[in-house]
Amino acid sequence: MAYVAARGGEEAIQNSEGLYRILNGDLTRQNIRAIERHMPYLVDRVMGEGSLYAPELAALALAQTGGDLYEAVLLLRAYRSTQPRLFYALPISSETTMVVRRISAAFKDIPGGQILGPTLDYSHRVLRLEALETDSIQAPKLETKNAAPSSYPKLTDWQREVGLLAGELEPAVQTSREVAALPDITREPPIYPAPRAQRLQALARADTGGILTLGYSNMRGYGGIHPTVNEVRLAYAEVQLEHPITGAVFSAGRVRVSSAEVVTPFSSGKTPPELSLGFAACLGWNETKLIAAAMLDVAMSLQDPHPAHQEEFVLSHTEPVEASGFCIHYKLPHYVTFSSDLDRVRKAQAGGSLELELEAVGV
């Protein structure tokens, strides 16, 4: 009696999606282009959390979901699942990226210099209401003066040299084969305590808001550490691949990447004390998330009962797709489980109050 099941539920789904599309207007190539071109930070965030560097697809995801961030991230992640992994790129290092912004709060000046780069940090946060009255406000034209250096030294190199920084430097991953051997949370689920590569990968994909919340709780003093921002970097990196036959290295494209490092005194547990380093990096430019994430990286390595110091707590609760998905799953019908709960409540109610009974017999 096998017959194709198609009943009211499926029609309801199609109509509700139709209503949503009507409310949000047509999906046009022009809109998608506009999002990609004019909302780079939003696109970066979706790509970073979506774990797929594809500005055009991220803009499409945003357009298609009316700007619902969690939905857009899910679209990218689900698309990513369908793509086979053909190659591993060579690792990028901060020495070889093209840095456009690089600041340190630790020293007034640092080797290589402070490079303010593109930022709204020191802008006045006033709405530019005149933009509503004119067709456009042109971006200013700036003269180029000095050519920027092709790379900047790392502040941690200097700190290590002078004996301030704790911990031995692990040997750098160099070949694509070594990259392929790194633990990867999309291939093996994290079992806590997780390898550091998985921790940094989870932070890179983590929900910006969630990381900020937990990082901020840490900054405000819940299990407080006293971090100083060692370096924040915004950069472009070449995605370099080795040709599978000739072995020649070629660039497959350029991606925006950012990273943050914080250092904390007296966290290493060593006497005499040394500085401890926290690090986070992600695809796209997302300074707020990375500063909080780098602080959580230090916090998670310390023995402290506060949740923001527990790796399992931080990483499992800042997974944007899992957290948002589970939250909205409560909209699904639960009448079977609820009726099972009600059965227990009714039964216990019928038994009467144990406390009153105990009171009556003077217990």
Partner: protein, 313 residues
């Protein structure tokens, strides 16, 4: 001969959506889960085009198993027509072209959220249960890392203590659905939030049950003919939901799990939660010749394995 004649027709997505590496991993983990009944096997858990918590774990297992000759049934709260069940069924059918059904007897692969069908499943059927929280210990030990250690030690003392505390406080065990069960004498397992009414159906079942939590990245199994006992004290037996006197409003069926529908002006009416069965009963009443399978519970709520349920409901 042209190359295009030899090649398959171009498709935007692979058969059953997941790439072959993902399917291979899932199948290996499923085999491991079958080999260690009740043990939670971690797996990578790919993102699929549904939100996490909406059956992505069950869906991945279904996609890894579904073959071209399968007939698929998907239910949510017992209902084939529930919007999310309809959505999952539509997706599986779209990505594979397999037949779908609402008839439990006709299905070879059943994906379900929170119910086990009323008609007895057989050895050729696989039941995939969607799992929100795979860790039965999470209510007493929120850290999965620590809970894993407790499972390896077989340390379930806190679960028993919780049952005891309930009895002291309420004179009743407070677990509604998702009642903890001991599988094959070794692992205590979350049977997914099926009502207690469905819990005994797992014991010595002819079919294979696979349970999968996509968000938590754990899958586990109850192989055919495996012992599954709800945790119960010798003097306080496990009880299923008390639905005595509840009858399906349209068919008059009884002894099956019912949905309670509050009525205007007080009181409730009842509907069979298993809508596939309800539909068949209705068609039978209309004079159609319909095969209705044997059920786990008879009309007086007697379980088919005599003596397994010691407590009255």
């Amino acid at each position: 001969m042209k190359l295009s004649e030899l090649a398959f027709e171009r498709q935007d997505y692979a058969y059953a959506f997941l790439d072959e590496f993902a399917k291979r991993e899932l199948r290996r983990k499923i085999l491991k889960a079958i080999a260690i009944p009740g043990y939670q096997v971690p797996y990578a858990s790919r993102e699929v085009p549904m939100a996490r918590g909406w059956g992505t774990g069950g869906l991945q297992v279904s996609l890894a198993l579904v073959g071209v000759n399968d007939t698929v049934k998907v239910i949510d709260q017992g209902d084939d027509d529930s919007v999310n069940a309809a959505n999952l069924r539509r997706f599986i059918a779209r990505m594979t072209g397999v037949k779908t059904t609402t008839d439990t007897l006709a299905a070879s692969l059943i994906q379900s959220r929170h119910r086990i069908p009323e008609e007895l499943l057989n050895e050729r059927q696989v039941l995939v249960l969607q799992v929100p929280m795979p860790e039965i210990l999470s209510s007493i030990e929120p850290s999965y890392a620590r809970a894993r250690e407790m499972h390896s030690d077989g340390d379930y003392a806190l679960l028993w203590l919780g049952l005891y505390e309930d009895l002291v406080k309420y004179r009743e065990v407070s677990y509604g659905a998702d009642y903890p069960v001991l599988v094959n004498g070794r692992y205590v397992m979350a049977p997914s939030p099926i009502p207690r009414f469905d819990t005994p159906k797992l014991h010595q079942a002819a079919h294979l049950t696979l349970l999968s939590a996509g968000r938590e990245k754990r899958l586990y199994a109850v192989p055919p003919y495996t012992d599954v006992y709800p945790l119960e004290f010798e003097d306080v037996p496990f009880q299923i939901e008390d639905q005595r006197g509840w009858r399906d409003a349209s068919t008059g069926a009884a002894g099956k799990f019912m949905s309670e529908i509050p009525q205007d002006g007080g009181g409730s009416s009842y509907q069979l939660s298993d809508t596939g069965l309800k539909q068949k009963l209705e068609r039978q009443m209309a004079g159609e010749e319909i095969e209705i399978g044997a059920t786990y519970f008879d009309d007086d709520t007697n379980f088919y394995i005599t003596g397994f349920l010691k407590g009255a409901s």
